[in-house]
């Protein structure tokens, strides 16, 4: 039996079907948490943000119009909440960055590569909020420029500009 699509589940959620909403939440909560955690660098706040976003999905479901994919809508809510949180608390305490897994025997070159990746991860965390959002949505979530533009409520050319500027900054950290 095929699983119901996001569109079908949202239609049922709009009718007040709590079970359909929980299926939708279960399907997307993990990725939304990863996105928020990467945007904020803080696990506890990421959970709060995603909970808030999902509750907004539930309360506003009767007004939802399927003009975009559900995932795009959810990511837009999550990203906006993250951007607001960063604006309100620019000195947010960051969780320690997770180590990149290394299964090969350590060698100088691999150690150097690992350190470079960690420098890159730190540089991503230090990017301006919208540039970080563009990088995370593109490279972590695998969205195309059009969908990133829909999530950020901007134009495709603006997304391209954000990515160019972000990569210019990251290239410096990566090469150094």
């Amino acid at each position: 039996m095929d699983e119901p699509s996001d569109h079908d589940l949202m239609a049922r959620t709009a009718q007040g079907d709590g079970r359909a909403f929980r299926m939708l939440a279960q399907r997307h909560a993990g990725r939304a948490l990863s996105l928020a955690r990467r945007m904020l660098g803080n696990e506890a706040l990421a959970e709060e943000i995603v909970q808030d976003a999902l509750l907004r999905v539930w309360t506003n479901a009767p007004r939802w119009r399927p003009q975009a994919a559900f995932r795009t809508w959810l990511y837009r809510v999550v990203v906006n909440l993250c951007l607001n949180a960063r604006r309100r608390a620019p000195d947010l305490p960051l969780d320690a960055a997770a180590d990149v897994a290394d299964v090969a025997p350590r060698a100088d070159a691999q150690l150097e590569a690992r350190e470079r990746d960690q420098r890159l991860a730190a540089a991503i965390d230090a990017l301006p909020a919208r540039q970080r959002a563009a990088i995370v949505l593109t490279y972590q979530e695998g969205l195309g420029n059009a969908e990133v533009a829909a999530v950020l409520d901007t134009s495709i050319s603006s997304v391209e500009t954000l990515l160019v500027r972000a990569k210019r900054t990251l290239r410096i950290a990566f090469v150094d």
Partner: protein, 111 residues
């Protein structure tokens, strides 16, 4: 440029998405067990009057009460009297009027 390709590869490597740990996701889902009321679209309000489910529901009661108040207000006001006069439904009583018929006979309405 080699650096650009290396940067792209590094970004994909560093940003490889792993779903948030199960514990965090389960905590989140547990907090969604109890859901608040939804915001109904404004366009749905007239439909409340057409719902013949006689279970008490405040939107329907509120709409009916509002309609009743509006009707009473219009009826008691000058607007109501003028409307009725235009429709020839009311014969304004006077001391000389001996007619007991409330309706104008030439309006074709039966007494």
């Amino acid at each position: 440029m080699k650096t650009d390709h290396e940067l792209e590869a590094a970004l994909r490597r560093v940003m490889t998405s792993t779903d948030a740990n199960d514990a965090a996701t389960q905590r989140l889902l547990a907090r969604l067990e109890t859901l608040p009321p939804q915001k109904r679209a404004f366009a749905r309000w007239p439909a409340a009057l057409l719902d013949w489910n006689f279970a008490p529901a405040w939107p329907r009661l509120a709409a009916l009460a509002g309609a009743a108040v509006l009707g009473i207000s219009v009826g008691l006001s000058n607007v109501g009297t003028r409307i009725a006069a235009d429709l020839n439904l009311v014969r304004i009583a006077s001391a000389d009027d001996t007619s007991t018929n409330a309706f104008e006979t030439d309006a074709g309405l039966r007494p």
